[in-house]
Amino acid sequence: MRAFLPMSQIPAYRQSLVLIFAALVAVPALAAETPLFKLVARDGVFEPTVIEVPAGKRVRLEIHNEGKTAMEFESRDLKQEKIIPPGGKATVTIGAMKAGEYRFFDEFHEKTGQGKFIAK
């Protein structure tokens, strides 16, 4: 039962320990050589809509919102979520993908804003 304590009931110092640990893990991973890909979003239009990435390797994705409206880059397949205001950019790091297809979309323009990674 104790295992099911809500986060709020874990003492604050333990929560910060978790965060520090997380940061220690995340920073070296970021520093390692990771290929960078670029994605441009313009009000629900992705360019490119298909991004080929190497399988089994972490990649970084630099998303530029060149549209006039805000966008939310989201990929349930890759567990990414990033809101980007018009004219803004953001970089996300994506864990190694097995060969296959991984969809992403713009949650503010989901009708047209759909794209995918193809890991080879």
Partner: protein, 294 residues
């Protein structure tokens, strides 16, 4: 315009669900006046949180840079998920016993402890998604001619949000109290589960936890989680077309736990006291009403 309104509604639906259910529930209580103060306090705090988060997202305030915002959002979803569950336990306990509780002023004082839990859960529910609405509306306003559209979207969006709230209140009148309570409990538990899944996924994305197997299966042809309907279902239930094993296991464990403690109507209150004994959360201090020990 339709798309903008849909987004405003979708982003406000979570807040409306939490606020609407708590409002309907509090209204039934003899100490409603106190509870309402905390409820609206939570809404105000949530609005403040939303605006500060939005400023960070827009890059206007850069006190939280890069990963820090991710970790902050992670903390918000996990805390919100835990507090919603706690709220359901709390409501369940008091739905059955509050008349007896009121006889003892001590119990009434003790209950005050959870008003803060209520305030926080409301603030997080309101703040989390409203921040995205603010960024979205900002983008709309920044658009050429967008300023003209903004008041219309704002008014209609608020009307939609209020409509959702009103529907919930009607639900509490039309349905029997027991049924309304059941349905809202289920909606809250589904939402908490969805938040939990999203928190675990953020931890995987941040490399803190392993995905184990990813994906376990693919049901995107049956129900796509990247579309409008599927996306909505995903945000409110934790559904994933291509789930990773770890969040899936966590969700299963979550529902088994909920079913164990809330599913059997015979003795939910006795078990409900247990998760509430840790020190920090407000409700925790509340002693289990004696009447509950059989």
């Amino acid at each position: 315009m339709g798309n903008a309104l849909f987004i405003v509604w979708r982003e406000s639906a979570e807040a409306m669900l939490v606020v609407g259910i708590l409002y309907a529930w509090l209204r039934q209580r003899p100490d409603a006046a106190t509870g309402m103060r905390y409820l609206w306090g939570g809404v105000a705090a949530g609005a403040a949180l939303a605006i500060s988060l939005a400023l960070v997202m827009l890059g206007i305030a850069s006190s939280l840079s890069g990963n820090a915002l991710d970790y902050f959002q992670l903390a918000i979803v996990l805390v919100a998920s835990g507090l919603i569950v706690q709220m359901v336990f709390w409501m369940r306990r008091h739905a059955r016993t509050f008349r007896k509780d009121l006889e003892s002023s001590m119990a009434r004082n003790a209950r005050a402890a959870n008003w803060w839990g209520l305030l926080i859960v409301v603030a997080l529910a309101v703040g989390r998604e409203t921040a995205e609405t603010v960024v979205f509306l900002y983008g709309l306003a920044a658009q050429k001619g967008g300023i003209a559209n903004l008041p219309i979207v704002l008014v209609l969006g608020l009307a939609l949000a209020f409509g959702t709230f009103w529907l919930l209140q009607q639900g509490s009148r039309v349905l029997s109290w027991r049924l309304f309570f059941r349905v809202s409990e289920m909606l809250l538990l589904l939402l908490a589960g969805a938040l939990l899944v999203s928190g675990i996924e953020k931890l995987i994305a941040l490399d803190v936890l392993p995905a184990l197997v990813d994906p376990v299966w693919d049901t995107s042809r049956l129900l796509d989680d990247s579309g409008r309907i599927g996306g909505l279902i995903a945000s409110f239930t934790g559904y994933r077309a291509r789930p990773a094993l770890l969040p899936l296991l966590v969700l299963i464990a979550y529902w088994v736990t909920m079913w164990t403690f809330l599913g059997r109507t015979g003795r939910p209150a006795a078990s409900a006291a247990k998760p509430a004994t840790a020190p920090t959360a407000g409700a925790a201090r509340e002693p289990l009403p004696r009447a509950e020990h059989h």
